[in-house]
């Protein structure tokens, strides 16, 4: 990949518009910090770029080196070098981690990887992520702790060597050592041929991986696109100042108390989410 261009992207999920005209261009060699308040569409953007079937693009384009990404199947996007480390990686029962990893690596090659070579790469990447080899024989993410799941995502990134790595809150749930390992892995891969799009709520990760640019998403749009000093300012002052300086209203998560269909648990959940801010 050389360039990913997102043009006036509008995205809806179950009829509700989440992204409302995103414009963003990424170049190889860049590491972009994507910030924004909870629920404003960061994960949505990353999932749409990767092709999650839940989202409908209602307007706009995503172009990868001029090619229309939204026409590509999810696996084709992966083969073109896109990678998404998910905010909440799925647990897939019955699918053995190591079999899956081998299948994934083979999907990115013309001829199947030799067993010896595969084990060498696995061992190497597992060591970097401090993932014991016996976790490889367990079912994919099943029963993995929060931090183990995140490390398993980065392990996959190391094995697949994507040219655009999108990392969604990869630092959440990581202990200090694991955060160190993950950021080392990212740093090791940062070079002129690759781009990173990194979502996090904490400056700590960004301090370790040194983004080249920072962008802010509010109300489903990129409202600020600038240098990494944005990270410091948001870390210290939050998002309020953006409202004033740009004259935009930051929408809070709506908690729809009238809706009877979502039930009390869902309300509690969204209240908790609200409280997290």
């Amino acid at each position: 990949m050389k360039t990913l261009t997102i043009n006036n992207l509008h995205v809806a999920v179950e009829g509700k518009e989440i992204l409302k005209g995103v414009n963003l261009t990424l170049h190889a060699g860049e590491s972009i910090a994507l910030l924004g308040p909870n629920g404003h569409g960061k994960s949505t953007l990353l999932s749409v770029i990767m092709g999650h079937p839940k989202y409908q693009i209602t307007e706009g384009t995503i172009l990868l080196d001029g090619e229309n990404v939204s026409k590509m199947k999810v696996d084709e996007r992966s083969k073109k070098g896109l990678f998404l480390a998910m905010q909440y990686p799925s647990e897939v029962p019955g699918v053995v981690n190591i079999d899956f990893l081998k299948a994934a690596m083979n999907a990115h090659r013309d001829t199947p990887i030799k067993l010896f070579e595969f084990y060498k790469e696995m061992e190497n990447a597992s060591k970097k992520m401090s993932i014991p080899m016996d976790m490889a024989t367990r079912y994919l993410n099943e029963g993995f702790s929060g931090g183990e799941k995140k490390r398993n995502e980065i392990l996959q990134m190391l094995l697949l060597k994507p040219s655009l790595a999108m990392l969604d809150e990869i630092d959440s749930g990581l202990d200090v050592d694991a955060l160190g390992m993950v950021s080392e892995a990212i740093k090791e891969m940062q070079d002129e041929s690759r781009a990173f799009l990194v979502v996090s709520h904490y400056a700590r990760l960004y301090h370790l991986i040194h983004p080249t640019r920072a962008v802010v998403m509010i109300n489903g749009k990129i409202v600020l696109d600038g240098d990494p000093s944005l990270i410091e300012r948001i870390d210290h002052e939050g998002y309020e100042w953006i409202q004033e300086e740009l004259g935009i209203q930051i929408k809070k998560d709506e908690v729809n108390m009238n809706s009877t269909s979502i039930g009390t648990c869902a309300i509690k959940e969204s209240l908790n989410k609200e409280g997290k801010k």
Binding site: M50, G51, H52, P53, K54, K73, V74, D75, R77, S78, K79, F83, L84, M86, P89, S90, V92, P93, G94, V95, V96, D99, F100, A103, A104, A107, H108, Y139, Q156, L160
Partner: protein
Amino acid sequence: MKSILDENISLKHEKDENGIKITVLSSFDEPLFLPLINEDITLILNPHVSLKLLEKEISSNQRKYILKEGATLKHNFLILNAEHEENREIEIEKNATWEVGYGDFSYSSYHSIMHCYLKGEGAMGSFHLASLARNDAKKIFDINFTHEVSLTESIMENYGVIRDEASLSFIGIGHIKRGAKKAKAKQATKIMVFDKKCNASASPILKIDENDVLASHAAAEGRINEEHLFYLMSRGLKEEEAKKIITLGYLNPILPFMFDDEIKKEVESIILERM
């Protein structure tokens, strides 16, 4: 693998107008198989005898298995072609165990009826089925356990995957009779549906006439998990390949009950091939 119909000093074969009667006199370490034969068969495991038995063919004739006190039958089915209705009856006496790993991957329609009677205290029936229905096959698994006395236990786990226009039903009754105190019965049924025209029904029932029992029942039918599919495809796996891997993952809970590594491998490769 040797046939259970062959001459062997540990086996006694008898034949009369009711069919063939095979008595297993002492335990076997190596698994045996039961070939297709158009006769009714009664297989008797003498007390404390253990046997591993593989069946690959479905016969329209009656099959009856009697497990005497303390006997153990590890029973594997690997069905690739089935045209008949099968009818099996199992009697489990005191402290005897029937443990079944049943893999059904045939393309054709098929009706399986099993009646398992737990007749002595400590009798145990443990049944684990994985079935893949494709094309326009109609499959029915009617699996029944009857707890006649106290301290008996049954486990039934049925997993199914349906594609195309096939239909798959898991039915049957887990019956705990009055007086069968401290009996335990567990039923778990899961069917994954791939296509719109599939027809799934997971509806085994528990019938309990005794208060002092432990019984659990779970049944689920659903489509392939979209998040799982997305996750695998986002790592480069083609849709078909991702579906195969997910299916294998869905059906492989029977693998621990297949007694032979060869059979386990065969099951895995058949699932991948027949998906």
